[in-house]
């Protein structure tokens, strides 16, 4: 559990409204320092986290105090903002969910992939709850479930409609997919999209589905690591390639088409502008390719606004995803218009945020239109 049932943060009270001068992610980082030179700082940070209800942010280094979900006397009584994770092990088979190996609050198993998945789900939950007040993927405290060690040398990760599934990689191109926090955030964001805008996974709406997952995958990483837009790598999947691959990550939001350039993988094919939109039957109509266009628009808006990307650009994108302005078949133009409307609704007509979002779409050649 992330949060004690008897000490929940009120769903009507935003964690962002807490008057803490040091943001929770930074407190969390300090609180887990083992260096004796920072003993006092770590102690103070842990006390502050407890005071403001962020004692769950121990990044998995300390045993959580809540009982496993199965031991709760009354599931319906669980307070909002209470995380429940369950990690299963497919043991290199392809039958889901596999064997349950770690439930919420249980100690580490010694399996790195299990720990990475467990901690990654925690970081992802933290972003959505603490920043956007969304309680899990369905906003109804649904458990976060993942399966690791799926398949033999399986070089992929995916969302199956109810859980995240991670392969171990083939060892030649990919290492284990749980190694990247942005990949974990990416997969869980597919669940959020499924429960909100329901963007159909084909063509432009599919590319937007992928785009949303890339955006929140990147934001999960930035929030966990306390990075500003200027400090962040804006890469998705950094660290999952083996050393043999000439590349940094799966995708770059800042510079689509530059994430890798390798003899085996080829060159990152993502376009960064509408003029280069790829029309193809493959990949569900190029959903992992054309997502580069809105990805760069988001990065541009976040970069223009500066600071922590989740606070303004991320908030606008989250509002767009959840405010009912999108349809399952929304295209790039409609999505762009929806983000601008969301910026106006939250920050005001003529605001700096509205202008930054408009400039982002202009950069990639997408003209906002509404039907």
């Amino acid at each position: 559990m992330f949060r004690m049932p008897n000490s929940p943060v009120s769903p009507t009270k935003s964690p962002r409204a807490l008057c803490a001068i040091v943001p929770p992610f930074l407190l969390s980082r300090i609180a887990t320092l083992d260096d004796p030179r920072f003993e006092r700082a770590a102690h103070a940070a842990r006390r502050s986290l407890t005071d403001i209800g962020h004692d769950h942010l121990d990044h998995g280094r300390h045993e959580h105090t809540l009982p496993p979900r199965s031991l709760r006397p009354d599931q319906t009584a669980v307070a909002r903002g209470t995380i429940s994770r369950a990690i299963s092990d497919a043991q290199t088979g392809e039958i889901l969910p596999g064997v349950l190996v770690r439930s919420e609050g249980e100690p580490e198993t010694g399996d790195v992939s299990v720990s990475e998945a467990y901690d990654g789900l925690g970081h992802t939950f933290a972003l959505f709850w603490e920043v956007f007040e969304r309680d899990s993927i369905d906003d109804r405290s649904s458990p976060l479930e993942a399966t690791v060690h799926f398949g033999r040398d399986y070089d992929n990760a995916f969302w199956d409609g109810s859980r995240m599934v991670f392969g171990d990689g083939d060892g030649e191109i990919f290492t284990g997919f749980t190694r990247s926090l942005s990949v974990i955030g990416h997969e869980l964001a597919h669940g959020v999209t499924e429960f909100t805008a329901g963007l159909v996974y084909r063509g432009q709406s599919g590319a937007l589905n992928e785009h949303v997952s890339d955006v929140f995958g990147a934001l999960v990483e930035q929030y966990a690591w306390g990075q500003t837009a200027g400090e962040a790598s804006w890469l998705v999947g950094e660290g999952i390639f083996t050393d043999e691959v000439e590349g940094n990550a799966l995708r770059s939001l800042r510079a689509p088409g530059t994430a890798y350039d390798d003899d085996v993988l080829g060159k990152d094919p993502q376009p960064a502008h509408w003029d280069d939109f790829i029309v193809t039957q493959e990949d569900n109509g190029g959903v992992h390719l054309n997502s580069g266009i809105p990805n760069r628009a988001f990065w541009s808006a976040a970069d223009t606004l500066g600071g922590f990307a989740w606070e303004r650009a991320g908030q606008i994108w989250f509002d767009t995803l959840t405010n009912g302005s999108l349809t399952p078949r929304s295209d790039f133009s409609e999505f762009a218009a929806a983000t601008i409307a969301a910026a106006v609704a939250r920050f005001g007509d003529g605001s700096e945020e509205q202008r930054a979002v408009e400039a982002g779409w202009a950069l990639v050649g997408v003209v906002p239109t509404t039907n």
Binding site: D155, N156, A157, F158, W159, D160, G161, F177, V183, H186, E187, H190, Y201, R202, G203, Q204, S205, G206, A207, N209, E210, S213, G237, L250, V264, L265, G266, P269, W274, D275, F277, I278, V279, T280, Q281, E282, D283, N284, G285, G286, V287, H288, L289, N290, R329, D331, F332, S333, G365, V366, V367, T369
Partner: protein, 143 residues
């Protein structure tokens, strides 16, 4: 046969010339068991792979999660066979083939390479085909 999708959206190809396999009769039996006319539903699982299988005169698009029974066996066998260092030379290309869109001669030139990275568009010199299933994904003047 090629695979697209996945978290990376990368296309990978495998090709096999059935008559040059050590057990062509077993391949023919397996190919005959495939329900080619029963088209599996389109994939809706984000980031999962999709396989496109061409085995003259048959074609099929099969989401990874629906690779069961003979479909799964065929895909596994093609992948296994294409990784064999004893792949045939390009000049011998008897039919039928279970292969990719690209030329079999080209596919078999490199006997050491099991998988073939290709342009996601299906070839840099080919015109991009519009997607009849996803009308909304074509650039137009109303963006």
């Amino acid at each position: 046969m090629w695979r697209s999708g996945g978290l990376l959206g990368r296309r990978v190809e495998w090709a096999v010339v059935v008559d040059e396999q050590p057990d062509p009769d077993q391949w023919y039996v397996l190919i005959a068991e495939i329900p080619w006319n029963e088209h599996p539903a389109e994939s809706t699982m984000p980031d999962r792979y999709t396989y496109e299988i061409h085995c003259e005169p048959h074609e099929a698009v099969v989401p990874e999660q629906q690779l069961v029974g003979p479909w799964r066996e065929l895909v596994d066998r093609v992948r296994e066979a294409d990784s064999s260092p004893r792949r045939p030379q390009p000049e011998s290309q008897p039919a039928p083939e279970c292969d990719a869109e690209a030329s079999p001669a080209t596919e078999t030139e490199d006997s050491s390479d099991a998988q073939h990275e290709t342009d996601p568009l299906g070839g840099t010199d080919e015109p991009h085909e519009p997607d009849p299933l996803g009308g909304a994904d074509e650039p137009d003047g109303e963006r």
